[in-house]
């Protein structure tokens, strides 16, 4: 929260699908979903992605662009989405912002304003 997050937009003509994952699909990943939504809002792209929370089996077939999960689960999810990102702290906006921006850059979606 120390510095103001950059304002960005995404070079992609559809809504991204981000899926947050945990073991049963409703406790921690719901918290992760809310933190992620806050991060997108702060980046100035609240509507660029739909964020959903799920358990492992549903997430595998969800057709997500990006999966966020604890490192406990990332190896199992590795082939379930083009980008699978391990998040250590589900309430840290800084960590999630940094890793999402990294992912956007890698995918060639990032456009800084």
């Amino acid at each position: 929260m120390s510095k103001t997050p950059p304002q960005i937009s995404l070079k992609i003509d559809r809504k991204l699908k981000i899926v947050t994952v945990c073991g049963v699909g409703m406790g921690t990943c719901l918290i992760l979903r809310m933190t992620t939504e806050d991060v997108l809002k702060e980046l100035g792209i609240p509507k660029a992605a739909r964020v959903e929370n799920m358990e492992l089996i549903s997430a595998r077939g969800a057709g997500a662009d990006i999966i966020l999960a604890q490192s406990l689960h990332t190896s199992e999810m590795a082939d379930a989405a083009p980008y699978v990102i391990a998040i250590d702290d589900f309430v840290s906006k800084d960590e999630i912002r940094e890793k999402l921006l990294d992912c956007f850059k890698k995918a060639g979606w990032l456009e800084e304003k």
Partner: protein, 429 residues
Amino acid sequence: MTDMLTEIVTFLVNNLFSYPAFLVGLVVLVGLLLQRKSFSDTVSGTVKTIAGFLLVSIGAGSFISGLLNFQALVGAAFHLPPVTYTGMGLAQFTVQFGGYAALVMAIGFVIHLILARVSPYRNVYLTGHLMWWMSLGVLSGIVEVFPNMPIYTMLIIAAVIMAVYWTIQPAYIHKFMKIVRGADDIAYGHTSSFGCWLSALFGRFVGKPEESSEKVKIPETISFLKDYTVGTAVVIGIIMLLASLAAGPAVVQPMAGTMNYLVWSIYQACYFAAGLTVLLVGVRMIITEIVPAFRGISMKIIPGARPALDCPIIFPTAPTAVLLGFISSTVAFLILMVVFAAIKWCVIIPPMIMLFFPGGACGVYGNAVGGWKGAILGGLINGVLLAFGQAIIFSLLATTVPEMGAILDPDYTVMILLIVGILRVIKGV
């Protein structure tokens, strides 16, 4: 004119409000409108909440038939008389009381916010699915003793009990939570707290934190059991297969009908796991709309409050301790399962979710004060609490929802024991 008004009200009461699922759907609808959500979000949120309730009761039906078959089969292997439940059962109970549990959540959360605001503990409980389950558990405890209590009295009593629990639980474990997390920003809001507290209390007598679990290597092969659908089907399947072999075709074939009796026992394990999955997807749909709303309200009323969160929040601090706790929990539970059946007390069923999550959490707490030995001790404590908890709840809630015993974390058992005990004393006076 008044006649028509009365008719409309009567129609609403009889057709809409008497179905708790619709009632909660309506509350969610109002909530979404107040938050000025888009049309599509409002419609999908409302419908998903209602459908979630229906999914829970559908899942509960399959879950119970799987549970009964498991108990019959393992019971037969140990020559126990077949189990029969006379209560209304989990499926019927959730249809009737599932919506009320959501109302208990809503009223209880408001009281909890007031308590959190005036008390020195500024923790806000946000583990939504457990708020719902425990509200349902507390209601079942009240119904067990006072089946004819007016519903509004029941709602208020349950809401106050829940509010007090949500305020005290994150507070009393926080001393240990700070050690585990190494920071003071998040509280622990999970119904395994009693087991975790014992693990953190006794962990230091068996080892040192320096002998951390994270220096221990665990084979990757068991990692597929982390997926609860798979873990449940595999573990229950193996036990049912062994029980079938022990009981023999003469006993088991009649239960299996036209299917081969060994294939049937595996099929039943998969059916049980499928029922559990449906049940939990339903709960997920119910709470997905409620928790963000609760979080929004709490941030406005108590700025800077500590959120009390679900147990996996501490898992990254010691992933190996999670697995050690899970394994030792499961071993302790399986041993007690055999012992309980052998002494002809009852047949308990391994609750894989409760063995993994609370077991893992107890492992992490144990590890924080006692290293890998502490993690193993934590798991054992959880396994013992779950086994005795299940056996006790099966008989304690005999006329309402004995099946509740199979899906309870340690704290529920303590709470239901207290509630039923106190209410029985009150009733006796």
